[in-house]
């Protein structure tokens, strides 16, 4: 790998839906480039024919067998957790014109 590892922080912050200040972008950008350099060691490993591990133990999808859904919370409990709610509904800024 000859290219210097580099992360386009504006692009990635947009993907992550994360507002960063200019100072944060500068600091994070430098730190993350150093961390990406450290990741370069992985490129030297021969992984041909190696299966990826997503979980430490093999897990299979689980299908419900007509059992009950377990605890269910009333809308008044769930809506009360929202930063703003009205009539048991979550209030958000207008999303359609």
């Amino acid at each position: 790998m000859t290219d210097q590892a580099h992360l386009d922080i504006d692009y990635v912050a947009r993907l992550a839906r994360l507002d960063l200040t200019a100072a944060e972008k500068e600091k994070l950008g430098t730190q993350l480039d150093a961390i990406l350099e450290h990741f370069e060691a992985l490129k030297a490993v021969d992984v041909s024919g190696v299966e990826p591990t997503a979980h430490a133990h093999a897990v299979e999808n689980v299908w419900r067998e007509g059992d009950s859904a377990g605890p269910v919370y009333g809308p008044e409990i769930l809506a009360a957790m929202a930063p703003e709610s009205r009539d048991n509904q979550v209030v958000v800024p207008k999303v359609v014109e």
């Binding site: 912050a13 839906r17 994070l28 730190q31 490993v45 990826p52 430490a56 133990h57 689980v62 059992d67």
Partner: protein, 488 residues
């Protein structure tokens, strides 16, 4: 006899059983101790003495009625601020969850309640369990009880410090890359990460779902065994939880599994980057096992040195996905200056998350993004397979593996705050264990010349908890490091 608040579950449950102690008296002693030392230690984010005393009274009433629930009944156990306890605040030490109150109990918490434990307080941690020093808490700087200028380790730093300071009889932590074992080592207590899947993650705020496990922190290996027994079990609410084919009585097995064992020492772990005093301490521990008749086997974990990059790709990728739920809509912090849907997300997240969480979300989003997925995330998952295979090969020859828990003793506050990579490298001996899903435990193995605790890590086979406890218990019985208490 040590003060009540420095005794073990085994000792205190015997006193409760004999009628020479009540849970109320014990809980009052723990509360008074906490009131006295907490200004120095700052291990708690929240505590409710009246609520704890009410639980203690209920325990005493059960006992009087002959309906006691076992060794944990009436024992004050501190809880990391990442596990949901119905009606209590849950903040994950983050501004993002400043006003959040749990609507239900985590499965681990429900099990501890069923065992009669007195749930005591919310313990400080690195924000969303991301860190190795508890300096990433948005609320409090927890001190190491052995040296108040130093960090307690992390991310379960509050759980370790509270225990070392006598502010709880045992605590619960969570471990994604060493977050139980490293603070246990740095604070001179026992910390145990179970086999992945043994303990339900329901109600544990997710950081990296394929790695997270809750586990016990305690003064002795026997106490950890008692706690794990109460915590484990397959849970229909966590599809990754696994039923152990036959669950041993861990505490009883301590008396029957006496060794000698075949114990592996990974040569890579004592090679470089380790503090000389820590190295000498671990070598002395290895010698002790040899003198007791165990066979010490030189083993190799040739991919272990890649654990840090693999972990910081896999864990941040999972975190970037898990933390997408904090969007300012349904719960948690909402920005007051957002004027449309997108700025509601971006500003709420920008205001609510701290530096390390932002760093990891950005990193995780990057390694999953188009054009980089194969080079980083997929490749890291393949190297994870190689790391797991290294352990499988090693465990064909040995019963358990011995290593340091942390390459250094507790460092000074602020020493690594501006160097995330240096902080990440402090997890070098613990994270391979999470990647492979294995159980491991840190126990006190001595002190540096400055009086700072050192921890020995014992790694077991998957679902080999009974042997893991037995190997660690043997060392503990042969030494008295676990009896030392920090002077506050």
């Amino acid at each position: 006899m040590p003060e009540l608040y420095h005794q073990t579950i085994a000792e205190l449950s015997a006193a409760l059983e004999a009628g020479s102690l009540s849970s109320v008296a014990l809980t009052e002693a723990v509360i008074a101790r906490t009131d006295s030392v907490e200004p120095k230690v700052q291990a708690f984010l929240h505590r409710d003495a009246e609520d704890a005393l009410e639980q203690a009274r209920a325990s005493d009433e059960r006992r009087a009625a002959g309906k006691t629930r076992g060794p944990l009944d009436g024992i004050p156990v501190g809880i990391k601020d990442i596990l949901a306890v119905e009606g209590q605040p849950l903040r994950c030490a983050s501004k993002m969850l400043d006003n959040f109150v749990s609507p239900y109990d985590a499965t681990v918490i429900a099990k501890l309640k069923a065992a009669g434990a007195v749930l005591w307080g919310r313990l400080n941690m690195d924000e969303f369990a991301m860190g190795s020093s508890t300096e990433n808490s948005a609320y409090a700087a927890t001190a190491n009880p052995w040296d108040l200028e130093r960090i307690p380790g992390g991310s379960s730093g509050g759980s370790a410090a509270a225990l070392a300071a006598g502010e709880a009889i045992a605590t619960i932590g969570t471990d994604t890359g060493g977050s139980i074992r490293q603070p246990a080592a740095l604070c001179g207590v026992v910390g145990m990460k179970p086999t992945y899947g043994l303990v339900s993650r329901y109600g544990l705020v997710a950081f990296a779902s394929s790695l997270d496990q809750a586990g016990p922190m305690s003064r002795t290996v026997e106490d950890a065994a008692i706690l794990l027994q109460a915590m484990l079990g397959k849970d229909p609410l966590d599809s990754t939880s696994i039923a152990m084919p036959e669950v041993p009585d861990f505490r009883a097995e301590l008396k029957t599994r006496k060794g000698p064992w075949r114990l592996g020492v990974p040569r890579e772990f004592l090679a470089e980057g380790i503090d000389p005093e820590v190295k000498a301490n671990i070598e002395a521990a290895i010698d002790w096992y040899r003198q007791q008749g165990s066979e010490i086997v030189d083993i190799s974990l040739p991919h272990a040195h890649l654990s840090v990059p693999v972990y910081y790709i896999v864990a941040t990728a999972e975190a970037s996905s898990n933390l997408a739920r904090f969007d300012g809509v349904r719960y948690g912090h909402r920005s007051a200056v957002a004027d449309d849907a997108i700025s509601l997300f971006t500003k709420s997240r920008g205001e609510g998350f701290g530096d390390e969480v932002k760093r990891r979300i950005i990193l995780g989003t990057y390694v999953l993004s188009s054009g980089y997925y194969d080079a980083y995330y997929l490749r890291a998952q393949k190297v994870r397979t190689l790391i797991r295979r290294d352990f499988e090969t090693a465990f064909e020859q040995v019963d358990a593996i011995l290593s340091p828990t942390s390459p250094t003793p507790a460092f000074k506050r602020g020493e690594r705050s501006d160097d995330p990579l240096a902080m990440y490298l402090s997890d070098i001996y613990t994270i391979a264990v999470n990647l492979a899903g294995l159980p491991a435990l840190s126990l006190p193995s001595g002190f540096t010349s400055d009086g700072l605790p050192i921890g020995l890590q014992v790694i077991g086979k998957a679902f080999g908890e009974a042997d893991l406890f037995a190997v660690a218990h043997a060392f503990e019985q042969g030494h008295d490091f676990h009896l030392a208490a920090a002077k506050l």
